[in-house]
Symmetry: D2
Subunit: 405 residues, 4 copies
Amino acid sequence: MVTIKDSVHDHIAIEGIAADLLDTPAVQRLRRLRQLGTVGLVYPSANHTRFEHSLGVYHLARAALDRLGIAGRRRKRLEAAAILHDVGHTPFSHNIESVVARRTGRMHDEVDDLLGEGEIARILALHDVDPAAVTDLIAGDGEFGQLVSGELDVDRMDYLVRDAHHTGVPYGTIDTGRLVRELRFVDGELVLAEGNVQTAESLLVARSLMNPVVYNHHVARISKAMLRRGTEKLLAAGEVTAEELRRMDDADLLVCLRSTAETAETARRLDTRSLFKRAVWAELRDVPAAVVDADHGTVREYEREIATRAELDPDTVVLDVPPRPRMEESTSRVVVNGEVRSLQSQSTLVSALRRANEEQWRLGVYAPEGAADRVGRATEEVLGLDLDALVVDVRRGINATLDDF
Amino acid sequence: MVTIKDSVHDHIAIEGIAADLLDTPAVQRLRRLRQLGTVGLVYPSANHTRFEHSLGVYHLARAALDRLGIAGRRRKRLEAAAILHDVGHTPFSHNIESVVARRTGRMHDEVDDLLGEGEIARILALHDVDPAAVTDLIAGDGEFGQLVSGELDVDRMDYLVRDAHHTGVPYGTIDTGRLVRELRFVDGELVLAEGNVQTAESLLVARSLMNPVVYNHHVARISKAMLRRGTEKLLAAGEVTAEELRRMDDADLLVCLRSTAETAETARRLDTRSLFKRAVWAELRDVPAAVVDADHGTVREYEREIATRAELDPDTVVLDVPPRPRMEESTSRVVVNGEVRSLQSQSTLVSALRRANEEQWRLGVYAPEGAADRVGRATEEVLGLDLDALVVDVRRGINATLDDF
Amino acid sequence: MVTIKDSVHDHIAIEGIAADLLDTPAVQRLRRLRQLGTVGLVYPSANHTRFEHSLGVYHLARAALDRLGIAGRRRKRLEAAAILHDVGHTPFSHNIESVVARRTGRMHDEVDDLLGEGEIARILALHDVDPAAVTDLIAGDGEFGQLVSGELDVDRMDYLVRDAHHTGVPYGTIDTGRLVRELRFVDGELVLAEGNVQTAESLLVARSLMNPVVYNHHVARISKAMLRRGTEKLLAAGEVTAEELRRMDDADLLVCLRSTAETAETARRLDTRSLFKRAVWAELRDVPAAVVDADHGTVREYEREIATRAELDPDTVVLDVPPRPRMEESTSRVVVNGEVRSLQSQSTLVSALRRANEEQWRLGVYAPEGAADRVGRATEEVLGLDLDALVVDVRRGINATLDDF
Amino acid sequence: MVTIKDSVHDHIAIEGIAADLLDTPAVQRLRRLRQLGTVGLVYPSANHTRFEHSLGVYHLARAALDRLGIAGRRRKRLEAAAILHDVGHTPFSHNIESVVARRTGRMHDEVDDLLGEGEIARILALHDVDPAAVTDLIAGDGEFGQLVSGELDVDRMDYLVRDAHHTGVPYGTIDTGRLVRELRFVDGELVLAEGNVQTAESLLVARSLMNPVVYNHHVARISKAMLRRGTEKLLAAGEVTAEELRRMDDADLLVCLRSTAETAETARRLDTRSLFKRAVWAELRDVPAAVVDADHGTVREYEREIATRAELDPDTVVLDVPPRPRMEESTSRVVVNGEVRSLQSQSTLVSALRRANEEQWRLGVYAPEGAADRVGRATEEVLGLDLDALVVDVRRGINATLDDF
């Protein structure tokens, strides 16, 4: 048994299959993927990695497995899934996941190829564990997949407290001890035991408060959009394939951006934090549905059109349209009066938080400082927005909420 | 300048009028009043006092005054109010406040008599500060009274983080640094600056999560009700007057309860945590409005009737009807798009939290273990409740939410 | 199993014999004994109790027992000893322990009478546990007594982190996780495993840094000496017997002091923090050995003589002669190169810390403000000190180290 | 004024010259230099950067300047020095500093060239600050240089608490608030005010406890030695110049090592944590003085000889001879009885800690697993060590102290 010191959970004991998997190149690579990608440009202390997060998830998974009395082969598979659940991540974690997924067909939790070969496959075989079973758990499939990837999974419990600890923003501070302790399986469903409506709510509340302040902070979104754009160009320039990119680490990608002619300027901007500014920042209700639901290709076309009308190099305009807000935790199940019920049927807060999530959604158009006015006007024409009617208007310095971070 | 080490704010520097007031008997007495009264019977670490809280409030008040640029006489008055704001508390803080107030006509923030005489009056005079002005600030009157007692006051900021720190429940962990930094006075109103809707919401959310888990935990409520009942009997027995009681500390009250024949049994129960149990635990919608709004005398009559029907000593039945839920913070004001608005007009969360507050309201009837059934039936008859129709039913072991603390 | 929230260890799970013992009056009484007595007059947040400490000791003991693979009857006895180890404490914990012990012949860890009767005896019998065996463990006897009371006991691990947490002084922050994990039994001795010389040292260092700043802070010592004096007078006045005193809680003692004519003034001084001041504060090397080693009676005679010469009421002079410094942890055993060795033979730090401990020893003479000069001169004559030759001299405002807390 | 959220100091307000300097490429580059280099391979959470540390140093510097009443031009220079003090660091901070310094003649605190040109020079000029004055402060020159780089500097205060926070090792937790508050200038010397011998000691103790557990953990040392070796080969291969290397960030260096034929294997080993193992681990007293004091060239020759005798590729043997232990903080000055004295003359602990430091010194010889025996024997011959006589012997699994991290 190895004991590893962790700044969040203090001592993490790791043994058996997980200890063996820890030493594989695929897991060691997670040491060099920042958990929150460009959020570090807003919160300078947020340099934690997928590696320490994976250890944390394994730690909480073990505590949950102890409570649930899960042992034997099933436990081995779940411990493997916990330590491996993030090996499919690209550099900068979620930041460029979609760019890669459009070309490889794989999101970060689709890892059958990574588990089926090399060191990981060898170790799974050694422990007599089927890679396909672990792959399914990581994808959240089956009864026990819910523990690894579901509304009440230990992944989310770890990242909320870890992100709070490293950013310094207190809102993610949930009671992981209680959450893990109250997990139960009832008729094949992972639920929280009687009397935990509020415990479940606290998980939603934490996410809802962290969302705008941390995960969707506009500076993190702008730099993420710039990074995504740079990565698209790297791929277009043939410097790297999507499969290669998927296996890189943060250092590889940064240096690749710097040393490629087409992306050197983007790299310089990210390195020196000379970021684009918001030319437009619009709420869901102010944006035509066709724009909100536009596919990737259409969004790129809008971008080019805006640049053309604004008489700017297309490289200097970014249109950032996030997916419609959703709130997975709202379908968490809790036992109430002896019956399993969905949290949203029990909690007044859930629908309010869902509305709050929707209200926090923003479409952004970003461009170099100075070009904001022209880009704003061009956006009005191309997307059919009415900037003067926006409640939130960056031009008036409004919604400065988090500008001071 | 004196520097005092505090487990929440680290170092607290105290000087001038506040340092002088700190040494008065009235402020030193706060060392012996537990901040959360009987909550310590649920959370064993919650032994913090009104004294350390008063230091914390003074500390945050100074930070706010610095930010707001308030100096001179006004500042002196506010610093005095911060350090003195809790000198009017009874033993066990809010637990028996109403018992005393019914007889003295004074709640804990009505302190003109305490500031107008003795050591405090002498020091205020020395610093040329009018006691009446400080009294008004403590009562929350006037523009600047909002800082000491209002929706955005530093009192609430300190108690949320302090109660979280000492109970170990993370929900109260708010960002006091940001809150204090964003306070502004606009047209005589204390508001949060542009971009702080979510900062204001986080304060509400913290209170809403702390309420059922800490402040209204049923064990805290039961023991508080027993303490209140004991105190009523002390007064009825003529052992002590309400004015004397108001100036006692926790030790005085405990020993007085122990050594008075009529209350010795209550003292024994509190000392050994042999508490009454819930015979009834009913939600707002299940309780007739007449009962919810009944005055103190009527509630006492109900109690006696329930005891009579259950053939029990009236001393062993407690009917606990909390006031209707309210949520002061919902009228917090924030600047949005350059205008001062009330938080509830801006925040989807506010109305949800208000409903959540209402849903958490509970009427309780408490009695010794074993008598629950008889008391339950008697309560049905006297109050017109239908126990079988209750969603939340303690008889079925339901709503065990917090029983395991 | 019950889970209790603790501000230091987060969740503490308690079950079996310990859960049953928790509900006894003797253990519940610990809720009303402050862990650090008068230290709270220096560090206002230090209001934690023997009850939460006992829970913490039980928690660490269970972790150690898990690691050491101790189960069955032996484990049950050790869990009982952990939860009961402080039931013998007097009000204000160590502050008046010696006063009571001189009359009852029992220090706080001599508890055979308390375990052999009443609720505790009943529960021990129920679990088929011999009270005498538990008594021995609490006294530190036998191989396993070392876990409860010895150089490497879990008692010390809990109090260091708990006292640090509640005072806000960081020095006690040790790595309890590592300490508990590295405990081993080798040939009947409790030792730290190979490679833990520094782990053992960190425990000593923590105590050495906490000693002068917290445990022996002069304000804590002055108020403790005043409390001890008051208690002696209570006993002399026949208000209470030593046996009664031993079973009181903090509230009882405070109120008893207030309501007894002979001690009301002492109570007033403690309640209002109008403490005596240091008239003399002398290092070990400056004090004649006969004075350092004087027994209780002789010290009281010195006191009276000093008061007489200073023409003061004997009640207003306190001579405070602590026992010679000792450092128990220095005999901790660690495995080095496969052999069990005593820490002091392995660690350069140990002898330095012992000398530092000696240098921090101080004899104090305390008296009301204003009387310091007269008392100083009288002390010179009576004890044969030369105040002008003292390196540390309170009269010159020197050694103000901690005066600002 | 900008406010930045920091996980150690919470909110850091930054304004004026420091805010302007923050946006320069040279300071932004610090975001991509890990504070502790390869220590992250031991403590997975230790991913904090020179950037957040620089903000912390600036924050503490401002607090100290407020206390010391330093304003005007002098303050501006000191604030600039605080934010710029680490711009001279190489990738992986101290890890490869000596490699670069041997070629450039500059250690990390020799930054006249970096301050004299580009954006930094422009901003200093704008604020009318002489770059040479700031350079001197960073080098620790002059009365005020002590604040930035000296025995009591704010640099050390920040890194101790920050490294403790991010590694999870509690030993670095010092009381920065008290330290900053007690700083004084007496006759041009930065000292701690009367009564702070122990405060000064706590700084030494923290460093002494952090040294072996964190900074000199053998895994961190092995990987650092491998990284240094790889960097030497990069330079020898002409892939990069020392001046270029000095301005790179961690990503540049990692990728450069990976893509250069001569260093690809080293990069692979570091990336996958397939590190060399200790073949020899010897204490100061067991190593001939000539070896301890050998210069860089001689050490490299020893290495080659060991490899030759062991019949190994010279690339696979690393001889790691740290400089003789020193303890700068021991000359800290404190005021005692009104006079400024050096800490070592006042503190029993200092000499003990110095001896402890000496005892913790280790010479290491590292080689791939499996080659340890041969390398051990070869080292005996080349360096004149007697492995069988070593008290600490890695071959017997002894000194496993920290192996389990």
